[in-house]
Symmetry: C2
Subunit: 300 residues, 2 copies
């Protein structure tokens, strides 16, 4: 592995396998052609015209869309779709900052609809006399997703109707027993984006990166069963583990690489410096010419 390999691994989506779906004039996400043909077509909720899917325009309020799509998803669930990944947690379908909230959608369905998700990913670090250290959690072996992998200090999906910082403070308490007055000192410092495909599922996600400097005498404790254990690692060990292995959950590597860049741990004269920095923030749909190495000069 290398830092660029992690960026490539997160950005593995082949958009030619997907078609966009719209709510009115707003593109809400992407559906895989296979999923669309096998499942969406039969829902009666979507119509296809010119390679684009449109949610029934008679669903003319967020409430109606949320309710009708949820009823459809419950039907899928009854048929065995989603399995134990069903969360009973709603994500907002809101294509961009500044455009309207279109509807809410059950979290486990979101990647099937290629809807952008986000959320806070926080790096909790300690400045000690012997250098920077990072608190590294191992995910619970019971988690349905990525059990036992290493993770960012605190991270969470972003449920509809909650502020990002507020959500982070909540997750800090639940996942790491960080008290609210300490968690509120976390600072939003960056954004990481990627287009990840897993089978018919697409995650065009954007994570908001937070840094929190923790006091040397504070020890995070798992609180809600999502975390197996916390360990304090010298930053160099985190650096090498990210660079050389896939021990961290795939997208958490990008948040840590972003931390390494911001904290000056990479050299400007590393030929990968610019491709890494550019590759960490993929918010636009991938293009043929988007390999991280050619970020500087895509072929016309």
């Amino acid at each position: 592995m290398s830092f660029l390999d992690h960026i490539r691994r997160c950005n593995n989506a082949d958009l030619s396998q997907f078609e966009p779906w719209f709510v009115g004039a707003h593109r809400a996400g992407f559906v895989h052609r296979g999923f669309a043909a096998d499942i969406l077509q039969a829902s009666g909720l979507f119509e296809r015209s010119r390679d684009v899917w449109h949610l029934d325009p008679r669903l003319d309020t967020p409430e109606k869309r949320t309710a009708e799509v949820h009823a459809f998803l419950l039907g899928l669930r009854a048929g065995g779709h989603f399995n134990r990944l069903w969360r009973e947690e709603r994500y907002a379908v809101a294509p961009a900052e500044g455009t309207p909230f279109l509807m809410a959608m059950e979290r486990s369905a979101v990647p099937w609809f290629g809807v952008r998700a986000g959320g806070p990913h926080m790096t909790g670090y300690v400045r000690r006399a012997d250098g920077l250290h990072i608190w590294v959690p191992r995910r619970s072996y019971e988690k349905p997703t990525f059990p036992g992998q290493l993770d960012n200090t605190v991270a969470g999906g972003q449920p509809a109707g909650l502020g990002l910082h507020e959500n982070l403070v909540k997750e800090c308490g639940e996942e790491a027993s960080i008290p609210p007055e300490l968690a509120r000192q976390a600072k939003a410092v960056s954004v990481v984006g990627y287009w990840n495909q897993s089978g018919q599922q697409l995650k065009p996600d954007v994570m908001t990166c937070f840094d929190l400097e923790l006091p040397p005498d504070f020890t995070p404790r798992a609180n809600d069963g999502e975390v197996h254990s916390f360990d304090l690692w010298p930053v160099q060990r985190v650096f090498e583990t990210v660079r050389d292995t896939v021990e961290f959950k795939y997208n958490c590597n990008l948040v840590l690489i972003d931390f390494f860049v911001r904290h000056g741990l990479l050299s400007a004269d590393d030929p990968d410096f610019i491709p890494i920095a550019a590759g960490l923030r993929r918010l636009s749909p991938p293009r043929r010419d988007d390999d991280v190495r050619s970020a500087l000069t895509p072929v016309a």
Copy 2:
């Protein structure tokens, strides 16, 4: 103005006015259709086929390309082109990290050929009891470009054949009398990219951002006539001046906005947070759907 307005102002290029030019299989840059028709065509050095310009393939080494193009540029200069902007300083034409060095080109010609330029832009800051402060220089009123405007603490173009960090240390000495042992502590922490057009000139530039924490008792001094004066500003004054005015040279605003983001001065719940973070790193050519506000969901 607003932070997003600065990003839009830097990313004003209309690529439909330009055609790419190649050295062999490598796209080296873009030439404006007007410049190509009026000047390039007559050079005898370029041939156009299918909306693309190719440098004469008989120039099959970097040395030959550099020499022939330079002779052509000297001819243009003799005809009054470039005026006092001619620098006698060479930039590398090297389309991407990891791809070969194609040739060198006189600095003042680089934007006429839409060749990516770069260089270090450093923010020198001081942590005082009353908060973060930034050393803000005003450009000399004698400079041919952007006279009298505010600037990043130390910044410079990147000449061919010098390392980025090495170049920064040199510029720190020349522009601000920062001694080498102090300048070497500067850390590369980010990358800012934009596509800026000025008439027939195109700058698809990438700047490497450095932070340098300066001791409270150190005062930078202008050394080479490029800087009129240095002042130490509270970060909030820099923040408001960037946000509300055009007093800083256009691209220096992006470096400072990047500093504000990295140092946690923006809120994650500011609806502009993600568009700003994404908008600061425009390395791929602009697309119709690239407005900073729609960075999250360009229309398909």
